[in-house]
């Protein structure tokens, strides 16, 4: 076995090959993180995200374009709100952090806002780490990191993440800040959106913890993040501390259990490449060489979902109707099998799943007053 350094290099090289020549790696954005949480077991998603392939472009090239798009109204609004929150060197943002998370500390005044610009994701990650190190060496003041870049080891390869902001408290601890433009109405926001924000922030917390572990002072990464939203129907910012311990633990476990990208990459045929410049047939072949685990939840989280859904339909698998469906059907995995078993044409009658199906089919037919219901009585 080669030493770790060269192995890492070899993997990086291999992933670059998968991406295709002259294609920049894509950072793991919020949607990719949501997809990771929604479907951690999907190998196709894992290798594509791991290699930094732009799945939206890939989906276009495959002929099943994703439906994700952002309205410019939402985009303008989101940016305007974030700019408002961070205006004046983050005065308002730090005030909220002080009020919601750290009332014991001295109020922020004249906080440090280091410049984090650098070349490429690696450069920006290094710059961020340097800024965090500097802040750790001179405690007692508030520091605001605007759009830092963090690297997180996902299945053996670094994924780049860009939180909205990170705040360094006077006691040296760090807080992830997430700025969202959905409203907090009477102190409560849409639970689904807050949940998504918490899952996303949990990944940032994990990445920050990796940075903290490398520093001598080993600063504490707070497990309560600051979620900043517009208040009611205004554009005034308000904030709430969100406890992400549970999401952090779940994500950490999922990341540990992920099949190593290296293994998935090794299982791919020689010469596999996901470059969008390739013709559609070759791309389809490449994508098909990694198994996917499609479920309807993918539709709201993954750009490739429509492609995978078409495949799942062609393969007649029951999970395309939802994951819970599978639980009741025992070892029967295709729709044809289930229906044949229900009609008594196939399947072992001693199998409890088959017996339950036949009973269900008989009860249903009795209720509908038909031996074999074929047509919906809606016309």
């Amino acid at each position: 076995m080669p030493p770790p350094r060269t192995r890492e290099k070899a993997l990086r090289h291999r992933l670059a090959e998968l991406r295709g020549p002259e294609v920049e790696a894509k950072a793991l954005d919020a949607r990719a993180l949501a997809a990771l949480a929604a479907n951690p077991g999907c190998r196709r998603r894992a290798i594509l995200d791991g290699a930094g392939v732009d799945k939206a472009v890939l989906a276009d090239a495959l002929g099943s374009p994703s439906v994700f798009g952002q309205s410019q109204f939402a985009f303008v609004r989101g940016n305007a709100f974030e700019a408002k929150v961070k205006a004046d060197g983050g005065t308002e943002l730090l005030r909220l952090a002080h009020e919601k998370l750290d009332r014991g500390a001295e109020p922020p005044a004249g906080a440090r806002v280091p410049d984090l610009t650098a070349q490429g994701p690696r450069g920006r990650t290094a710059r961020t780490e340097l800024a965090l190190r500097e802040a750790a060496e001179a405690p007692g003041a508030w520091t605001l990191l605007d759009h830092p870049m963090l690297a997180l080891d996902v299945a053996g390869s670094p994924a780049f993440l860009e939180p909205d902001a990170v705040v360094v408290h006077p006691d040296g601890s760090w807080t992830v800040v997430e700025i969202k433009s959905f409203p907090m109405l009477d102190g409560a926001a849409d639970p689904a959106k807050v949940g998504a924000a918490a899952r996303q922030s949990a990944v940032y917390v994990l990445a920050l913890e990796q940075v903290a572990a490398r520093l001598d002072s080993a600063p504490r990464v707070r497990h309560r993040i600051l979620l900043v939203c517009p208040k009611d129907f205004s554009n005034l910012p308000t904030a709430s501390a969100v406890d992400v311990r549970r999401q952090r633990a779940v994500t950490a476990r999922q990341l540990e259990r992920l099949t190593r990208i290296e293994e998935i990459a090794d299982a791919l045929p020689e010469g596999t490449c996901f470059s969008p410049k390739l013709p559609a047939e070759r791309l389809t072949e490449a994508v098909e060489s990694v198994p996917a685990t499609y479920a309807p939840e993918c539709l709201s989280a993954c750009e490739l979902a429509f492609h995978c859904r078409d495949r799942a339909r062609a393969q007649d698998v029951v999970t395309r109707l939802g994951r819970p469906v599978r639980a009741e059907l025992g070892g029967l995995t295709t729709i044809g099998e289930v229906l044949a078993a229900a009609r008594g044409e196939a399947g072992d009658p001693d199998d409890p799943a088959v017996a339950a199906l036949r009973r269900a089919a008989a009860l249903r037919a009795e209720a509908l007053g038909t031996a074999a219901p074929e047509v919906a009585p809606c016309r």
Binding site: P296, L321, A367
Partner: protein, 533 residues
């Protein structure tokens, strides 16, 4: 999802069209519902872009906000909406019938019957999807605390007169929609998905176009194909052929069509404001009107297909016969409507931002009770729903094979006949478990005595306990006879709620204590200067 529902979905996949998930209609449909198809601006909370609204499917009223960031235009939209919704709601407020309600007499503390009014019918609002229900609630919240110039002459940016009242009504509709089985405010996708099982997942069922394509595919086409087309097909301009049911719009529509149109409108408005003389102003007013007309056409083009889809959904649902107990649930909706009408008439303040402990506990108790009631009633109304309960062992159906007369051992013996039922179902029965059957719409109770031979034979012996009259001999028809088909449930037909909650004055300190002095009306939301929402 029960196995029967799963099976229906799988059959839908193999036949290419939706399969029945109910044999009767489980929701009340008004003769004259008010359909509302709203659109909002992406990224803004409660910034409407437009809506189609009305009770006449051929003549919807189109309301449009040409610049959603302009407060005056938003208020104009809401005022217009109030002009449509409030007269519709008021139309139901005046037609009343006499009814009785039991109340606690404040002097004696006893429960007494009082004569009250009950509205003979209630309004019904129908929106395309669940997100539409949330928007109704959000609009209600954004309006009900507003102040009009009449209420508060000092208020900055006073709201048009009827807007706060519209907010209170929309809030009431939104709150009522949280009660299981209620029909004051319905989402078309929810109601359709309740009655048909499609060959796609419940997540995909949220798309009204795709759902209708499965239920009622175009002549000679498979529902699966039609549904996929409804979901994804785009025209040469890259616009969805079947626009999303809203309230959110498709980003491609926002970016390619709407944003440029709004920009042209803004420019025309700026030019009009800068006009120097009357002649120039006239000309520029024409340009502004044209720009506004363009946005109106765009909004109509995105809402009209959804509007037609909602009415098509209503047609399909109306073909199903109404379930026997739907009327009773609608009466509860009428009570709810009458109650809110009375609160508005009595000049009570708008619903608070947060419920106090007593109100919240009451609401939860009502929702739990109504959920249990809905589940029981749907099963009793619909053999297909009952089939799922039979499959899960909560009910059984079979034939009466023997009836033996028996009597209770009290001083005045009452009939307690023993009925033997043969069934293929596998109910979860233990000794003395109670089972209920519907007898003339009322539940009759029986007690499980035992199996005649063993659980495998399916011969159950039940002792009938009540509803046989006062005499020594049971009344005619009150005891099943040999050869009868019977269906017993193990769940109660009229579920009782939990223990009664204490009166507000008795609220324990753990729950905030008794209400203090007269509640102060809540202040309006502070208004920010900027017109970016």
């Amino acid at each position: 999802m029960s196995l029967i529902a799963t099976l229906a979905r799988l059959e839908a996949v193999s036949t290419g069209r939706a399969q029945p998930a109910a044999t009767v209609r489980h929701r009340h449909l008004s003769e004259r519902p008010l359909v509302l198809v709203p659109l909002i601006t992406a990224g803004e909370a409660g910034a409407p872009l437009g809506a189609l609204v009305g009770t006449d499917r051929d003549a919807p009223r189109l309301l449009v906000v040409p610049q959603p960031r302009d407060r005056d235009l938003r208020f104009a939209f809401l005022a217009e909406l109030a002009d449509v919704v409030l007269p519709y709601v008021d139309g139901f407020a005046d037609v009343v019938e006499a009814a009785e309600r039991s109340e606690t007499d404040p002097e004696t503390g006893k429960r007494v019957k009082v004569e009250v009014e009950l509205c003979a019918d209630a309004p019904q609002l129908i929106v395309p999807s669940r997100a539409g229900v949330d928007l109704v609630r959000l609009l209600g919240r954004s309006m009900r605390f507003r102040r009009t110039a009449e209420q508060d002459p000092e208020a900055p940016f006073p709201a048009p007169p009827r807007v706060p009242l519209l907010g209170r009504w929309l809030t009431h509709f939104g709150e009522r929609a949280r009660v299981p089985g209620s029909s004051l405010l319905l989402a078309m996708t929810d109601v359709l998905a309740r009655h048909w099982a499609t060959g796609q997942s419940t997540l995909e069922d949220q798309h009204l176009g795709a759902l209708l394509a499965w239920i009622d595919p175009p002549e000679g086409r498979s529902g699966a194909k039609a549904a996929q087309e409804a979901e994804l097909a785009r025209d040469a301009d890259g616009q969805l052929v079947c626009p999303p049911a809203g309230p959110a719009t498709d980003p491609a529509f926002d970016n390619k069509l709407l944003a440029p149109a709004i920009e042209r409108y803004d420019r025309a408005r700026g030019a009009l404001a800068a006009a120097e003389d009357g002649l120039e102003a006239d000309e520029r007013l024409g340009a502004l009107t044209a720009a506004e007309r363009e946005i109106r056409a765009l909004v109509e083009s995105r809402t009209r297909p959804t509007w037609d889809a909602v009415w098509r959904g209503l047609d399909l649902l109306r073909k199903l016969p109404e379930g026997a107990r739907v009327e009773e649930r609608w009466t509860r909706d009428r009570w709810s409507f009458t109650g809110h009408r009375d609160r508005v008439l009595a000049g009570e303040p708008p619903q608070p931002r947060r419920d106090d402990a007593v109100t919240a506990a009451n609401k939860l108790a009502v929702r739990e009770r109504e959920q249990a009631r809905l589940e029981a009633q749907e099963a009793l109304d619909d053999p297909l729903v009952m089939a799922a309960r039979r499959l899960s062992g909560e009910a059984f159906a079979g034939e009466v094979v023997d009836v033996v007369m028996a009597y209770s051992e009290s001083r005045r013996p009452s009939p307690r006949p023993l009925v033997t039922v043969r069934t293929d179902d596998r109910p979860h029965l233990g000794e003395r478990v109670r089972a209920y059957r519907s007898l003339g719409g009322k539940p009759q109770t029986a007690e499980f005595v035992g199996y005649e031979e063993g659980p495998e034979d399916g011969l159950l012996v039940l002792r009938v306990m009540d509803r046989m009259g006062r005499g020594k001999e049971p009344e005619e028809g009150s005891v099943p006879e040999k050869g009868d088909r019977v269906c017993f449930t193990l769940f109660e037909h009229e579920p009782r709620g939990g223990a009664k909650l204490p009166d507000p004055e008795e609220t324990p300190w753990t729950h905030g204590g008794p209400p203090g002095e007269e509640a102060v009306p809540e202040p309006a939301d502070p208004v920010t200067e900027e017109d970016v929402l």
